[in-house]
Subunit: 288 residues, 2 copies
């Protein structure tokens, strides 16, 4: 198969490393940074690379017009502009997918731009970024959601699913809105819940209490605050591109918290204990 | 030194194992469960044990009236009743300390009951409970707060501090209210913040979204929800015995969350990114 990867970071680079292991694949890649292109070739994440699509189109060996599948692995904000930019260079049979962590903001417009577009979201981050963090088998055993719509081309969907499956991903299908609401709950909401915890602890006005809190914080605080202290740009994008689902999750969350506060104010210890018992029972459903 | 330990669970048992390593110490223990007494002797957590103080008082070798220091390692609710119960059997020079995770609800009344009382809070839990989980060096390198007051006996404070120090704990001093506010922020608040996250995810009404959320949840949800899915009785005690400080923390937390929601509603992406950048900067102050 002939495959293109646009954006050679952790996800794009890891995809490429897996795909290049199959001798039947020819993989080209694009990164704005020429040094990243060189590095991607060196680690066998791509066979050919260039800083933009016009230069790829000039590489005869890359055979752009015979490309079967293109992965757009740029940051969310660049996905739609990237599709618009590459569109004039592609043959109509080429399938495009992305790896963005939100889907409503992408899929509708992407389908308008390119009718063989299928949204994907592989859930496979690590703590590291960039081509130097690219790993073999990053997607193996990890969930990957594809988000077809009523307009999706059947062949395009089959191709995208077959490729993710060949990389060992565990495939799920969901509509773009269902996808966005699910990730709002389990991935985007935790960031803001966790960030507010860091904030309240950091804003403690009594200096002795603030100092002691810093000294005593241990694994409970560490774990609960981890995602709130993560990449700020990623958090911003979650809010920006998944605003509706995130806001809805946050408001439901506020209601849950208000209920807990009311129980504590009412000194209803038995209800607090039964609520916490229920949480203890519910949590394992989310741990795979 | 002659030492008593009342309550032979993880903390009491671990204390005893460390203390029994010093051949100059004689350690007696109390557990309501006779099997726990036998087990504590078998693993050398105590030299003598019995199910209650009246039986300890009859063990000539335990020399109750010559005991220098007693650790009350019962659940929080039993600390004050335990001190009232043992009081008639003790010589006036005996120092009592506890290991409870809240201090305002304990220290004032404990001092009234026994003037050589000093509150302690070793921050050294593990995921396990009971005498069978008792470890050597559980307190080594871990924080331990002692909470003297204006009424504290100087000798008693010195003795308690010296013993924790001999076990390798990193000592801090704080007033009971400052202690309770600090642990409310970094230990008790996370439980309710985290439990509400589990609740909102579990209560998702759309079945397809709820199912997908369970399948996609990964390390972000796992870490942020961990303490909310922990021991429900412990969570209840945090609320019950540290109600004022916890409620104050929860209300400050609500304000922080409301601010984040307002930024998302206003689509103020730049402010969201700078807030999250600030959280990223603040968090390492709490990681030791």
């Amino acid at each position: 198969m002939r495959i293109g990867i646009i954006g050679l970071g952790l996800i794009g680079g890891s995809l490429g490393r897996d795909l290049c292991l199959n001798p039947e694949n020819q993989v080209w890649g694009i990164s704005r940074n020429p040094a990243t292109c060189d590095q991607a070739i060196a680690i066998k994440a791509v066979h050919y690379a260039a800083p933009d699509i016009s230069q790829i189109s000039k590489l005869e060996l890359a055979q752009l017009d015979q490309t079967d599948l293109i992965f757009v692995c740029t940051p969310i904000a660049a996905i739609l502009p990237t599709i618009a930019e590459i569109k004039p260079y592609l043959a109509p049979h080429t399938v495009i997918t992305d790896v963005g962590s939100v889907k409503v903001a992408i899929v509708g417009e992407a389908e308008q731009l390119w009718d063989r577009f299928i949204g994907s979201h592989p859930m496979a981050g690590t703590a590291f970024n960039g081509i130097q963090a690219a790993e073999l088998e990053l997607f193996k055993g990890r969930p990957c959601v594809v988000t077809p719509t009523d307009h999706s081309n059947r062949h395009a969907l089959d191709l995208v699913q077959a490729v993710w499956q060949s990389l060992g991903a565990i495939l799920y299908q969901a509509s773009p809105p269902a996808h966005d609401r699910a990730v709002a709950l389990i991935s985007h909401l935790p960031v803001f819940v966790s960030a507010s915890l860091i904030q309240v602890c950091s804003q403690e006005p009594d200096r002795a209490v603030a100092e002691l809190a810093k000294q005593l914080a241990s694994s409970g605080f560490r774990d609960t605050s981890r995602v709130g202290g993560g990449n700020p740009q990623l958090g911003r994008y979650m809010a920006e591109y998944n605003r509706t689902a995130l806001l809805s999750g946050l408001k439901q969350y506020q209601l849950c918290l208000e209920k807990a506060i009311a129980q504590i104010e009412a000194e209803d210890w038995q209800s607090i204990e039964s609520s916490l018992t229920q949480r203890q029972t519910e949590r394992p459903d989310f741990l795979n």
